[in-house]
């Protein structure tokens, strides 16, 4: 039995071409980019080139891209770094109840340090309630952080509208685009975004690499201190091969994003069709018309997440209850709690399936049938 991977929102298999792009860097361009000799300059060129490609991918300027060790670090710089650098302008931050823990826990840290944070509600369709944004926004607000696509439901957030609202406000607008980058067209100019987080390992690149877009006009403090790398915003010898791998992953997506999206959308539709055909009782969390192609979050009434995941795993299906980053625990989803209330059963009976490179039409069919069998066996009606 070949296990089937339906957890691409947690992490993705690295693309063979990405590894191919990294190997020569490891082997031949191993210089320290800060060194002035040939080896160093060669390594610097690779980073410059990657920065150019990545900047272009979101319509930013090269200088506005800071490479990090991943999404968590970028989110932490975006929140803590921006808050600390701008506290003379105010101490109020706005985010939402459904953010990734990298944002939520950074916000909680700031609360302990004298900042006040508003956590916006989430509507049943999985979108942030932007009417609330307008009411809580004050002259003291210095930062608004709202994710582009929610990692549990896949629901796309109204980023452009939020950007529009904040256009003439002093508050910087940060979006955690970890789940959106590579799936949606992201133009920081058009979206009115000042800071944007992306991660390599969610788009078939290596783990341990990410970037934070920091618009030229934005003041941030760094979280780490050391050499002059990344314009002092993120010191430390650059992960040259990782950055080159990230670039390769970005180029691969740029070349065939449309095909990928069509394919993943087909998988999603096909998966749901089989569940329906097999008479499984289920409902979809969030407005499916407004989700990214790769993610679907399904509630199975009468079941329990833990039992479902264990049984899925035993029959070779890898899915999850939400963010993998809650370090192994299966706690009621904070995202679904925000949408439906914490006492709602969906918070403990929902599964996220996420599609990607490891899937084929055949293994989607096999997985859906197994899911149907297990759910029907476990559901208490």
């Amino acid at each position: 039995m070949n296990p089937i991977y339906l957890d691409h929102a947690a992490t993705t298999p690295i693309h063979p071409e990405v590894i191919q792009a990294m190997v020569p860097v490891f082997e031949e361009v191993y210089g320290n980019p800060s060194s002035v000799h040939h080896f160093g300059r060669k390594a610097r060129q690779i980073i410059d080139e990657a920065r150019r490609v990545i900047a272009l991918s979101i319509n930013a300027n090269d200088k506005e891209i800071t490479f990090t060790s991943g999404g968590t670090e970028a989110d932490n710089i975006a929140l803590i770094g921006t808050a600390l650098a701008n506290k003379s302008k105010g101490n109020h931050i706005i985010t939402t109840k459904m953010e990734h823990h990298a944002t939520l826990h950074a916000a909680e840290y700031l609360e302990k340090h004298g900042f006040s944070v508003s956590y916006l509600d989430v509507m049943e369709n999985g979108q942030v309630d932007i009417s609330q944004l307008v009411t809580v926004l004050t002259d003291e607000t210095i930062l608004v952080s709202i994710m582009t696509v929610n990692n549990e439901t896949g629901v796309i957030q109204p980023i452009r509208e939020i950007g529009e609202i904040l256009k003439d406000h002093q508050a910087y607008f940060h979006t955690d685009a970890v789940q959106a980058y590579g799936m949606l067209e992201l133009d920081v100019e058009a979206l009115g975004v000042d800071l944007l987080t992306a991660s390599s390992h969610k788009i078939n690149g290596p783990k341990g690499v990410g970037f934070l877009f920091i618009k030229n006009s934005v003041k941030v403090e760094s979280l780490q201190y050391g050499g002059q790398q990344e314009r002092k915003r993120r010191p430390g010898t650059e992960n040259v091969a990782g950055i080159r791998g990230f670039q390769a992953a970005v180029e691969l997506v740029a070349n065939d994003r449309e095909q990928r999206l069509t394919l993943y959308q087909e998988y999603k539709t096909f998966f749901l069709q089989i569940l329906e055909k097999e008479d499984v009782e289920f409902s979809i969390n969030g407005d499916i018309k407004n989700t990214v192609a790769s993610i679907i979050n399904i509630s199975f009434p009468g079941t329990n997440v833990e039992a479902l995941l264990t049984n899925f795993d035993l029959s070779g299906i890898a899915a999850s209850s939400g963010s993998a980053c809650t370090a192994g625990s299966v706690e009621p989803s904070h995202v679904l709690s925000a949408m439906y209330g914490s006492s709602n059963q969906t918070t403990v009976n929902s599964i996220r399936f996420s599609f990607g490179l490891a899937n084929t039409k055949e293994n989607i069919e096999e997985a859906a049938k197994k899911v149907a069998t297990i759910v029907k066996r476990l559901a208490i009606n």
Binding site: G31, S69, T72, N76, H105, G227, T237, C325, T326
Partner: protein, 379 residues
């Protein structure tokens, strides 16, 4: 090609690359996922950590994988400062630390911490008495590097550790980025509470490293999020990076066991050769790490010498790569008491275990050629 800039970064070993590639391909799961892809990745990560612990003779729970030396040093210095500021706000470090320690300390000064930057003697070594005298009842952290990255001086870590042990309120951090795999540093019973290692300095990959945090030491994390790595370091674990790091650690320790004497001989040879060249002054003290020699050629701009050597396919560096963009003067050499002529014309030659005597001879020959040519140009 002769690469003599191994303190800036090293070439990854093929075995290290192979394990990175294999893990990337086969164990791509997120270790926090509870399905088998996640469980397999988590198991592998744990195994890597256990192996690293075994190599360092510590417990697996005491190790945190990081993105490199800078993060390790920041996590140690800021992490201790923030977690223990209620007990005191005084930190002791030295004037010759890597920027990732010095700059972290400077940032803490802005937040109201007091930092003592200990001087060093002309051999680039911190005096034990200075350490003793600097400690007061507010001191919560001593952070001293093991091997200096510019001149290769070795600090009396075990003696400082013995002092630190007398003050249970105080933590002792060692930046062992340049020492690991070359100069032994036993952690157990050493008085060391935190120790930083970087992958790319030991033929591992950039973007990998680890921090040893002795059991029962509490630190405040730099990154908040999914509580990975025992809540010390949130963020999806770089599993392939971690496994490759441990491979590199194992291989360099093996080389340290079998090739250290050869390396010492080669470095001694290098030193002897350099001392023969007119106009060259050797700055590295007699007692030093087995792979770093720092020299000065007063009157010559270090970049010019480096570029001329590059033309001959030989690679060395000025001072620390991490501060190469600053003006020529080396803060480390100034701290050692060298005058401007010396501290502004410094060059660092750093070997790895595979550099040969022939390479060293060729380098010395080329250097004296280059100096001669340049002196003719300069008239």
């Amino acid at each position: 090609m002769i690469y003599l800039d191994n303190s800036a970064t090293t070439k990854p070993l093929p075995e290290v690359l192979e394990s990175f590639r294999q893990v990337s391909e086969k164990y791509y799961g997120n270790p926090s996922s509870i399905h088998r892809f996640g469980a397999d990745a988590e198991r592998l990560l744990l195994k890597a950590k256990q192996q690293a612990a075994q190599l360092m003779d510590v417990k697996a729970e005491e190790l945190v994988f990081t993105s490199g030396g800078t993060e390790g040093n920041n996590l140690a210095v800021k992490g201790i400062a923030f977690a223990h500021q209620n007990r005191g706000r005084h930190i002791i470090t030295s004037q010759i630390e890597h920027p990732s320690v010095i700059e972290a300390c400077k940032s803490l000064e802005k937040l109201g911490f007091q930092v003592t930057y200990l001087p060093v003697n002309s051999d680039g070594v911190v005096e034990i008495n200075d350490v003793k005298e600097a400690i007061n009842d507010q001191t919560i952290l001593i952070s001293i590097m093991h091997v200096n990255n510019e001149i290769g001086s070795v600090q009396p870590i075990l003696e400082i550790g013995a002092i630190a042990k007398l003050y249970p309120k105080l933590f002792f951090h060692v930046d062992d980025v340049q020492g690991f795999g070359k100069v032994k540093l036993p952690l157990i019973n050493s008085g060391i509470d935190l120790c930083t290692i970087s992958g790319h300095k030991i033929h591992g990959l950039k973007g990998t490293g680890l921090l040893y945090i002795k059991r029962n030491t509490t630190i405040f994390p730099l990154f908040h999020g999914g509580a990975q790595e025992g809540d010390f370091r949130s963020g999806t674990e770089n599993v392939a990076g971690a496994v490759s790091l441990v491979k590199a650690m194992r291989l360099i320790i093996e080389k340290q066991r079998t090739q250290l004497d050869d390396m010492k001989t080669t470095t001694q040879l290098l030193r002897n050769c350099l001392e023969q060249i007119e106009g060259v002054v050797v700055n590295t003290p007699r007692q030093h790490s087995p792979n770093i020699i720092n020299i000065s050629v007063p009157g010559y701009k270090p970049e010019v010498v480096i570029h001329a050597l590059s033309e001959k396919d030989i690679y060395i560096s000025t001072k620390s790569a991490c501060s190469s963009k600053k003006p020529d003067e080396s803060a480390v050499l100034s701290a050692c008491g060298f005058n401007k002529k010396i501290s502004e014309s410094a060059l660092r030659i750093s070997l790895d275990y595979d550099n040969t005597e022939d390479e060293v001879f060729t380098f010395c020959h080329s250097l004296s050629e280059v100096l001669q040519q340049l002196s003719e140009v300069m008239g």
